[in-house]
Symmetry: C2
Subunit: 345 residues, 2 copies
């Protein structure tokens, strides 16, 4: 992290105008068009300032006789010091709210809806992770006979997540017996996480071999669920990238889509974010991924129930309207948090 170069009032105004113009049009912006907006100074003055801003690395000139484009550092300065965030317009609220009007019971379904809503609201690719530490506590379990050698375990976890897995039966057991086992397990298992369940045999101590064996399988499965939960990332809205002129280059588009379709990449990306303050904007190469050098991430956490934190955000062009996207991401995050919190209660 290098310190930002300090800018005087006028340079700030000009940089801000460049970002605004470029965000709107996608075309490198020249001194003449800036002079129209910033009528206080002539194009020549602005030209001098642009030269300085280029020297200190906030602007880039694609070629000698072209206008200026903000560099990653330029966007960074804009985002940190110049940006006036815009309220989420009523039209967007009206677009988002219906998604959260009628909600499914399961947390995962809610997250999926959130991804769709955010992709639409921000006109970019949306990313949503499950609330951390979600899904490890048992709310209820059930056993359904499949055949002599197998039973289906149905786990209802906190957040109304339902998980299923075939378990092996060491001896043929009928449904009545399975139901009895399930009932007796339900009496002790509620609210426990994987390690809690694994300690059950010690504390209760009187299980038959079959129950013992089933418990071991349940613990193993819960551990798997746990791991899956941590890497679960939903996304939506790849189509929103297609109409951006900067992705007219298929090469570039391909790289981005490859990252988005590869869940591991996304996980790495999100875990690289510094969300201690609940909100982060990563611009261009700041993400550390070469494929996303022309993309920015706007991420925020959402709170679900008591301090469960998930991440939600968008991936779009570096040229995105940061002043609009940030508030919209947080708006949806707030809605998601509320909805997931309700499901977790």
């Amino acid at each position: 992290m290098q310190h930002p170069v300090p800018l005087d009032q006028r340079k700030q105004q000009i940089l801000k105008a460049v970002v605004a113009d470029y965000t709107r049009t996608g075309v490198p912006v020249g001194s003449a068009s800036l002079a129209v907006h910033l009528a206080t100074w002539s194009s020549a003055t602005i030209r001098n300032e642009l030269a300085t801003l280029s020297e200190v690395g906030y602007l880039i000139q694609p070629h000698t006789s072209a206008g200026r484009v903000p560099s990653d550092r330029g966007y960074r300065y804009y985002v940190d010091f110049l940006m006036d965030e815009e309220d989420v317009p009523p039209a967007v609220r009206r677009q988002v709210d219906p998604f959260f009007a009628v909600l499914p019971t399961g947390v995962e379904d809610i997250l999926e809806i959130a991804a769709t809503a955010l992709a639409q609201a921000a006109d970019a690719v949306s990313l949503v992770t499950a609330p951390r530490a979600l899904g490890v506590r048992v709310k209820h379990l059930d056993l359904v006979k499949l055949n002599d050698a197998q039973a289906l375990l149905v786990l209802v976890l906190e957040g109304n997540l339902v998980r299923q897995q075939a378990l092996n039966l060491t001896s043929p057991t009928d449904q009545t017996a399975l139901s009895a086992i399930a009932a007796s397990l339900n009496a002790v298992v509620v609210g426990l996480d994987a390690s809690g369940v694994s300690r059950l045999p010690e504390s209760v101590g009187t299980y038959a071999a079959l129950e013992h064996d089933l418990l071991a399988q349940i613990v193993a499965f819960m551990t798997v669920c746990d791991a899956q939960q941590d890497t679960l990332i939903l996304h939506d809205g790849v189509r929103n990238l297609l109409h951006q002129p900067e992705f007219g280059d298929v090469e570039l588009l391909q790289q981005v889509i490859e990252v988005v379709e590869e869940e591991r990449m996304l996980a790495a990306l999100i875990s690289a974010a510094d969300l201690d303050h609940g909100f982060q904007i990563m611009i261009g190469r700041e993400s550390g991924m070469a494929e996303l050098s022309r993309c920015s991430l706007v991420l925020t956490t959402y709170r679900a129930g008591a301090e469960r934190r998930g991440t939600i955000g968008v991936l779009g062009s570096t040229r995105m309207a940061y002043a609009q996207v940030g508030p919209r991401v947080r708006y949806v995050a707030q809605r998601v948090g509320r909805a997931v919190g309700r499901a977790l209660s």
Copy 2:
């Protein structure tokens, strides 16, 4: 459907060669390069034949001095009469088989894996629908208390599909009572579909108000599941389109992605297919969708258990290697059918 124009031996050979060449290179093929492969005739002779094939509409000339490209009808003739399907190469089998080596218990998860496997094997976008009439028969149900006003219904359906839904409680009921209700329902509900469950009150007749009310909610929910099941279409492999030269045009790509990301479109597409004979290739405009005029569909049914049929296939460029793709689609279909059948048993 118009009758195909009959072709003599030589025209057939030439058409076949044109399709093979164009599929391989993506470049319009001229008489000279054909004369190399078909050494029996000179380029002039081939030129004459190409002219005839163009006249009857099997080939198209992008411009006067360009080579020939197969038309939709040309591909149709090729697929119907000329194509020699290739065996699925061992390398591809080795790529596909691991996907089906370790399978999850739920049908939906299996289908998701199948989509990934097929996308890879056919280097195109894969499409998979759930087996028809799946998911309507109850295998097991359970009720979990959420709060005084709500209980969570967990339905295990045939195929080990698990569905959940919050139900409203007309009066506060504790978990013990809910479990008792679930147990009594389980005794009669197994194997029934939505309409069967809806007729339960008549045949049993002795339900308390609460049970009566819950049953009504269960029926309603099952009907919803039913409808969802019919429209469920998974897809994967959009990235595979990106390296095809014909999709270098972003416009085109955008149209295709829009169709693929819109589930209703896909549903319409697949229901338009005529799968009475279990396998269909739809070439270009045959699909009836303008957006997919440069795409072909290769679809087949798979059998899961006793006569349950789902659809699986790929969407790719019209220039795809039909002789390879058909067998690969059927190979994966067979694997899926077996896997889903096992899950349904």
